[in-house]
Symmetry: C2
Subunit: 332 residues, 2 copies
Amino acid sequence: MDVTIYEVAQRAGVSIATVSRTLRGTGPVASKTREKVLKAVEELNFTPSRLGVSLAEGRHAANGIVFPNLSGPYYTEVLLGYEEVASELGRSVLILSTTGRTRVRDLVKDLAGRVDGLLIFGHTAPDDVIAELIQVGMPLVFVSREPLAGADTLRAENTASARLLAEHLALHGYERFAFLGAPLVTGDDVDERWQGVRSVLGAAIEAVPTGHYTVDDGHQAALRLLRSGDRPRAIICSDDEVALGALLAAEELGLAVPDDVAVTGWDDIMAARHARPALTTIRQPMRELGARAARALDELITAARSTPNHLTLTTELVIRASCGHHPQEEPR
Amino acid sequence: MDVTIYEVAQRAGVSIATVSRTLRGTGPVASKTREKVLKAVEELNFTPSRLGVSLAEGRHAANGIVFPNLSGPYYTEVLLGYEEVASELGRSVLILSTTGRTRVRDLVKDLAGRVDGLLIFGHTAPDDVIAELIQVGMPLVFVSREPLAGADTLRAENTASARLLAEHLALHGYERFAFLGAPLVTGDDVDERWQGVRSVLGAAIEAVPTGHYTVDDGHQAALRLLRSGDRPRAIICSDDEVALGALLAAEELGLAVPDDVAVTGWDDIMAARHARPALTTIRQPMRELGARAARALDELITAARSTPNHLTLTTELVIRASCGHHPQEEPR
DNA sequence: TTGTAAGCGTTATCAG
DNA sequence: CTGATAACGCTTACAA
């Protein structure tokens, strides 16, 4: 990309203003002139410099997204939904992964300087940068986090479905529960799930931490949990990956799921259906979260909307085999 | 981000050149002046406009990456390795996902206009755009593709390990094989794997297509394959995800792995170790591929190097349970 | 040590 | 309809 609008103008025998007008369709251009210009553009294989355009237009035509990592389908799916819609809207997407990173503050600020708007997962960005960004009016949408003034927040419903799940498990007659993948910060998705199940299970459930929310960490934590003296009758996991890890641990210890210990997940990632036994879980529209975030950002950026939106998408309890036997599945 | 270098200069009572010098550490600045400038910067909370900087510097300080999708760990891992190193080198990364996209040509060109260099997976970008990009001297590194003039290519070794794997399976005494996940384009990783195994197995192996290289598609294809009259004794899969799908299919049909049918994968993703039975596979340094690509691009961009490199990283045959019983594992 | 001014590549206003 | 020309926000010779 080396040829500039000046060369095109010169070759076409017109001014750069005319070239610009022709290419963007803004303002009138005589059809003979237009032809000359297009011909020159063609011959020179001219593409307007993004930098020049952006500087003049005063916008990047790009969105950012900050996530912890990409282990497992959750962030990945949201990311893809986001990128697809952003792309439709003519915006590129810049990514920033924060786990294992030092100076996240600076990275986020730098990213913010390159885009017109940002999707931020949960609490992956330091509060003070967020405050700064809101302060300067940068369009922001948070996914998987409690509402926040000055920015959009978007999440899938957690508490109600957590209750639904807890109640379903209680109906199985289980009495001791564990919540594997204890919340790390208050106000994010996992915390809401925990609050939800605890609100119905009360003292019968205890929170067990896992480190990260990965298959591996779930596996390790479940191993410890299941080996302990009084193991729970049912393990409600923070998400499907942790649950997959729990399934592994149970198998390793020779425990049958759901007969010895029931296990449930969250998200309904593809592997949940394929797991053995298939995971009872809560389906959450990951792709749509990303897509909606991109659209919300677009509204904010184009100033089609100025007041923040706080949206909660509905989820669905998906009952499969891992939570216990159900009459309709096992006719007597 | 609204305050410009002019306001800082004014407030500090100096020229914009001095502000720039102070901030970038280029050229001399009296320490008293420096202090005044830094104070003004602080008070105004000034951050140089990325667009301004890039336009003046003549570089984006950003890299792009184009991949088909993010289903499964392979692209994801490479992406993360890439982003991490790019970030260390002070470059942001812009992504472009191509599956299900129309006008990939335009998307790639647009992306190219926003970055200093591009990592492109296999054959995800149309040949003519690639030719154009090489033509204009855009730094390019291809991952998982056969060498190409005018750009770096980077891949993990395929053919030799494919032979190794095939020979190992032959030692088990198997006679009929299938390669699940037939190559879609010639010259990419999967094609090399196929060529490798076929070179030792000859007519004893047949290629079976899967659509995409996903768990689901592998599952479906394996189901058809295993139901057919003369099912193969061993299934060599194009990658771990397809293999995971094959495992599912075998289980569904009541076939024991490896006793009724052996299955192998490729990549050694995390799930391969956790699968039941654990997958025999070829370990490939995905993260490192991404990291190296970022460094290679940096060399090309900074003109530290001008001749293309074509690098092949070594892989490792990881023998686990899914390919058959081994003496050392099962002492008589 | 500091300031002036010429780029960098567009867009868009305002006269013709 | 078209062309000067002033932004846009910075970097960097070149002078002083």
